[in-house]
Subunit: 309 residues, 2 copies
């Protein structure tokens, strides 16, 4: 059997953070930083994984654990009964897993795509998403909306609702920019902080999530119409709601308002759960120098792609 | 007739900015910076006004205009038919009209109180408020919620709804602090900016106002219970909604997040319509030095007071 090559874009949250966990829609965007996965079949039952995070070796009959590769191992285990032989998996990422480009989701989608191809299973996006989400939930003990998976699998911009599941492909964005605050708080920790506030004022928090949902629906309309001015304004509205939730901070505001000060930026908001990580803006001003790391990204029109050599 | 002395506290908005104009409740607070008004009857029909803003002289039979004293002159005109004689009005303020302590409302309430006393009319807070609000609306062409008037007249903290009118006296706050951003945008100009955004997304803005109303109602509950922790959190929630409305900016966020970084501060938000002016915090940390002017204020338990000498 021939080598299988998979290329998966990273992703960023465009809108819907937090509220997506409460039944509202989210919008995510595939970015042009990719994870490359190469599956080379082996004549034996050995599994080799070559990744920047770990060098791994095991056998199909008794797949060993490796915490640094938990998503990959979980995927391999799910497919193990159907695998025709062992294989070498080469995983290369164009971006650090430390900035919020959804590397776990991208690598999971990519490995699932490679293993599906290797076992001659369906590669339809919907099926890929189902399988990858199960693996993410298994590793994260049921947590994770799957929004980043949707973006990595479908490409460009997608709107997504968890339940009842809705996935809609939307046009790609024009230029964007992404700045890293220099630190991040893990999403589960952010969720705990918000939850502690929400139990004291459940009605207020539930209304904030609903309003986030409304802003996201309007943003989906703006995206369909390619009304970038409106989308930028709605990003600003959403950012205020993130602030109301308690997940903005001084550095994030500093980046956001510095960006909004430029005439070339249509809107700016946190991308992700907040309390650190990245600020996303619609528009990019190369003349703007901020004391924060810019992560050069564009939108990837393509989602997961597979190539047989 | 004897001299009438009136002392009126300035006021700050605690919550309800913008939303109060759309039928939601507002919370305002009287502060311990006062305007002092002294009315000395004259044996003739001359009107003399001695104020830092202008020196003014006229006669009852033909009251001249003076743009710098527009609220005062409008009040005198309303009372002119009933005035027993001319008078000297001395107006002294403990604070600049340039920072947002509601000086126009306070001076209007004070002059109306002095003229009511001079003409032996009712000095009940409700009647005083009615008369003062008519004058404010006359000068401002119908604009102004009257929230600052309520606080200056009633003292301590008040909750207020425009229509149907509701005024509720609430307990005074513990320590507060107030920082001036160094610039301000006039309220009517801020309202125009928000209005321009709102016409593009009327549903989003209408829901933001409703949510502001909900947060303010919860804050009123917290105030009644003297639950300062909850009030502080709700101030933070409201600030996010102000940001969602588009009236926060870089300096305001810088002050707000610097304050929130202190363990002695329970909450911080813009006080007033935004895009400049002041940030109000619940709690004060004297160890905190910010590169912004602190306006030393406390809460005034008393509203308008009148003294006959």
């Amino acid at each position: 059997m021939s080598t299988i090559k998979v290329k998966v874009p990273g992703s960023i949250m465009l809108m819907g953070e937090h509220a997506v966990l409460f039944g509202e829609k989210a919008l995510a965007c595939a970015v042009d930083k990719y994870i490359h996965i190469e599956l080379v079949p082996r004549p034996d039952s050995e599994i080799h994984i070559d990744s920047a995070l770990a060098q791994y070796q095991s056998v199909l009959e008794d797949i060993a654990d490796e915490p640094k590769l938990s998503f990959v191992i979980a995927a391999v285990r799910r497919y193990s009964a159907k695998l025709p032989s062992g294989f070498l998996l080469r995983i290369q990422s164009e971006f650090s897993h430390k900035v919020g480009l959804g590397s776990s989701a991208a690598v999971t989608a990519g490995v699932v795509a490679a293993l599906s191809a290797f076992t001659n299973q369906s590669l339809e996006p919907q099926a890929l998403f189902d399988k990858a989400l199960k693996i993410v939930h298994q590793v994260q003990e049921g947590r994770g909306s799957g929004t980043d998976l949707v973006a990595s699998i479908y490409g460009a911009v997608v709107s997504y609702r968890v339940e009842p599941r809705e996935i809609t492909s939307l046009p790609a964005l024009p230029e964007i920019s992404l700045f890293y605050a220099g630190y991040k708080t893990k999403t589960p920790d952010v969720l705990k902080i918000v939850e502690a506030k929400a139990v004291k004022q459940p009605e207020v928090y539930s209304e904030i999530y609903k309003l986030m949902g409304l802003v996201t629906e309007k943003a989906e309309v703006a995206l369909k119409q390619k009304n970038w001015l409106a989308l930028g304004e709605l990003m600003n509205n959403y950012q205020g709601l993130m602030d109301a939730l308690g997940v903005s901070d001084r550095s994030l505001c500093d980046i956001i308002y510095s960006l909004r000060g430029s005439g070339r930026i249509l809107g700016a908001k946190i991308s992700g759960s907040g309390l650190g990580d990245c600020v996303l803006s619609l528009g990019n001003d190369s003349g703007l120098t901020l004391p924060y790391e810019q992560i050069p990204v564009g939108v990837s029109a393509e989602g997961v792609t597979i190539e047989y050599n």
